[in-house]
Symmetry: C2
Subunit: 523 residues, 2 copies
């Protein structure tokens, strides 16, 4: 196995793949906020590791000395995730949440042994996949523990099995998105899961956080793709999922999906797969308003005509994303841009696209052809790189997301937007798109840009709190696909209520009585 | 509210609706098993109720004296469910599992108060909806309790709300299938949930048992229809489901769905609904073999072309169901009958039916037109009545079901069929159909008929055990849509394993520390 590309400890993704800020964007930023160079503090190191010799020896006894790493560089790369808060801390040299040791098990048996070692030595264990969490899911509460262990799943990258008749595949948790797709492609299959973090995020992380991807309208959210999973808990190993559907009690898959490493370590995931699409077509549509586009989406969902990809930008996001409004087909008011994507066989794509075109035309949408769609495809994984470039010039950029039922969409949109605008400071820009669509409702994905205040961490914390309060007040969820982590905990507890919290604590106490798994996250 | 039709304590459904055995069926039975009249023991009564005066007074204090019933007739009607084992016991006069008292709360607040009374007086509480359980879900383990209370939800039959934009509706648990449909029809909506028990089963029961209906290919299993639910537990009341989909931790809806009254009493269910279909068309198809028909179903599911209804009988079931084989379009070998059904708008039905016809014709299926489909629709809820008529003449009839992935279908079918045939005695008939279809697999629904042995309870127990062992040995689920109850417990525990059992026990112990809810069922 060749070593994989590691993300930069202070930036997103592969430094070699990052491009500098385009001139047009720089011009817009200059106009909106002014340019202030904010370089990262280079050469910062994490605190020295604190771990007893006996614990270290026990870990080495399980995985071998070469897979127990305490060097600064390795630990820096396993420090927190990639929220803007995480990046701001890392850029300022604060690596105080670094794990004491990084351990790389080869298989399930080693994970079982590692959890036993962790329990007996009181080591906090943070399962680590792609390191792309944006909600503090990798920041363990260390106070009560002898040390913090980053349990890196990087060596568990096998395709364990393929069932071409049932169209399922069993994957190890350490496979990154492109790696999983490459292995499945050898069988003519695809998982079809493309979150923005796709290039770095892993199968285990997709399951642990209930990830949702850009093509989930067509392929399904990750939690809907999972037919079975195996989880190593401190109380034993469990495999759940014995049939495509069943009535054998509560669905225990749904207890471990979204458990964010707090109940166990996911060691294999069996997913529904599809045939590789023969054809991929992406088409843009213009709507006079966000509401009109949202109504069209609702109609598609309720008529059972959702394409593989569907997203709709509000007026502000449409205008910003298209520096030249003429590129979506009209001078003056650009309206709102919808991207639709179709993947499958030639005939299925043609039939679906024709049905959609007919329905959206009836609803007075304007077909913009394939150019806006291809432009979106081209840049679909680039936003996190752009954020780094913006941080470099003193602009705070972050995203957050929620979901609700259709009848509550307008209120949620207005309330969250108002909360962000009123707290981010003069001239802040708040953009939104509908990223996922269901028969009964949709998600709202917000992106903000604001001139960095003297204390940008406090600036964002205030805005995030206001937005989160607005979500819960509106009866919406605190997260549609970014998970809970540590950042969303206060609102998560409001969302599920005291009895919900009690249920999760009961499961946690039973499976992880020593409380070693990702302490402080989720529960 | 006019009183609803009660089921007969020893038979299925409405005695007025039951028809006697058709002459053709009687002839077939005479030929296969001989006719032996087995009349029910009339006039049997349940044991006298045992409940303390203080407990009774406390129950009356909550719901009013008129809603606390201890008379024999009411208690007989709340004794067990409608499995063949239940019926055989009731027919022989054994009503030993009768509850001591039947309590009928008006609303959620009364249920909260009732659970408090039950905990303080150590009363076992059995939530009761339609009484249609076929897995012993209404038989509480009474040994450790002062009395057994049947908590009858018959007074909770309101449509609490409709959201026409989000296409959701909130229903009370006591609504029977037709009652829920009638209320939704006033808004032009349908739930689309039609299990064989539809006429008597309730919304609360659908949720508590993860019911699946005859149209679930099109409308979705009941657990997939639920967007939110409210559950009263002894530790407090919880509402789960804040968005169409979310990443806020484990999906707690899926903990209460399938919990069979052991974790709480479901007091409202918010479901996804659809517009009333304008057109309903049902079409029969003939396949040369069960395997060929199953392959066609798999292709439809994996191509995303499932109709609203789809089911496929094996050779034996096809032959038996059609006393005149010519009715499915050919003399001699009838092959296997598939029923497809299409519901929706005129254009959607036409498009879906055309696509299906094209694909199934390519696969060498024979289109039998609408007659076999209409015949199936006509009799779709009648099988349980027929079972009573068969029991009357000494023929043991029962059903069981399971599900697995496509690649395991043939093995599961062969093993369960062999287990039943080898244990039910000379000349036993074993029929099977695929009742539900998914991209990754399907369910198998078996119906058996055998000459009653001297001890028919033991006869069935032996066959059921052999079939259940075969399911678990094949890695399939012990139940696709009949739930666990008490009958499936030993195999359910094998299916989810010791860690799964531990998780369920931890939740149960936390929410119901006194263990008053449906003791002995599921967990």
């Amino acid at each position: 196995m060749s070593p994989q590309i590691e993300m930069h400890p202070q930036r997103w993704g592969d430094p070699a793949a990052a491009t500098s800020l385009p001139e047009t964007a720089r011009g817009l930023i200059e106009l909106a906020f002014g340019i202030t160079e904010h370089p990262m503090l280079a050469g910062s190191t994490p605190p020295a590791p604190v771990i007893g010799a006996a614990a270290l020896a026990a870990l080495e006894g399980v995985v071998g000395v070469e897979h127990v790493l305490v060097d600064d560089a390795t630990r820096a790369l396993r420090t927190r995730g990639k929220s803007t808060t995480d990046l701001l801390k890392a850029r300022s040299g604060d690596l105080s949440d670094a794990p004491d040791v990084v351990v790389r098990p080869a298989d399930q048996a080693e994970i079982e042994a590692l959890l036993a070692v962790a329990a007996s030595h009181r080591l906090a264990v943070v399962p680590f996949g792609g390191g792309t969490s944006v909600t503090g899911g990798l920041v363990a509460a260390r106070a009560a523990y002898a040390a913090v262990v980053s349990l890196d799943l990087v060596r568990m990258k096998r395709l364990l099995g393929v069932d071409e008749e049932s169209m399922t595949a069993t994957l190890e948790p350490g496979l990154r998105g492109p790696e999983a797709e490459a292995l499945l492609a050898e069988h003519g299959m695809t998982l079809g899961h493309f979150p923005q973090s796709f290039e770095f995020a892993t199968v285990g992380g997709f399951a642990a956080t209930r990830s949702s991807g850009q093509s989930s309208a067509g392929y399904g959210r990750f939690d809907a793709l999972v037919v079975a999973l195996t989880v190593v808990t401190p109380s034993g190993t469990i495999t759940v999922g014995s049939a495509p559907a069943n009535a054998a009690g509560p669905d225990l898959r749904q207890v471990f999906l979204g458990s964010e490493g707090t109940l166990g370590v996911i060691t294999s995931v069996t997913v529904r797969v599809r045939r590789q699409p023969v054809v991929k077509e992406y088409v843009g549509w213009r709507w006079p308003s966000f509401a009109a586009g949202a109504d069209a989406m609702r109609t598609l969902a309720q008529e059972g005509l959702l394409p593989t990809v569907i997203r709709l930008s509000d007026e502000a996001e449409t205008a910003i994303n298209l520096a030249d409004p003429s590129s979506i087909g009209g001078a003056g008011d650009p309206g709102c841009l919808m991207i639709t994507g179709f993947e499958g066989t030639q005939s299925a794509v043609a039939a679906k696209r024709a049905a959609l075109t007919s329905l959206l035309t009836d609803l007075h949408g304007v077909d913009l052809g394939e150019e806006p769609g291809l432009s979106w495809v081209h840049g679909r994984f680039n936003a996190p790189y752009l954020r780094d470039s913006m941080l470099d010039v003193g602009v705070l950029v972050e995203t957050l997301e929620t979901a609700t039922f259709w009848s509550n969409r307008e209120r949620l949109y207005a309330d969250v937007k108002a909360a962000l605008e009123s707290t981010l400071g003069e001239g802040a820009i708040v953009l939104c798109h509908i990223s996922h669509v269901y028969e009964t409702g949709c998600s709202l994905y917000f992106t903000v840009a604001a001139k960095e205040a003297a204390d940008p961490l406090a600036q964002w914390a205030t805005a995030k709190t206001a937005a989160s309060d607005a979500m819960i007040a509106a009866g919406a969820t605190i997260t549609h696909h970014h998970a809970v982590g540590t950042d969303h905990k206060p609102w998560f507890e409001q969302e599920i209520g005291p009895v919900g919290v009690q249920v999760l604590r009961a499961i946690k106490a039973s499976l992880d009585p020593a409380g070693i798994l990702n302490p402080g996250v989720l529960i």
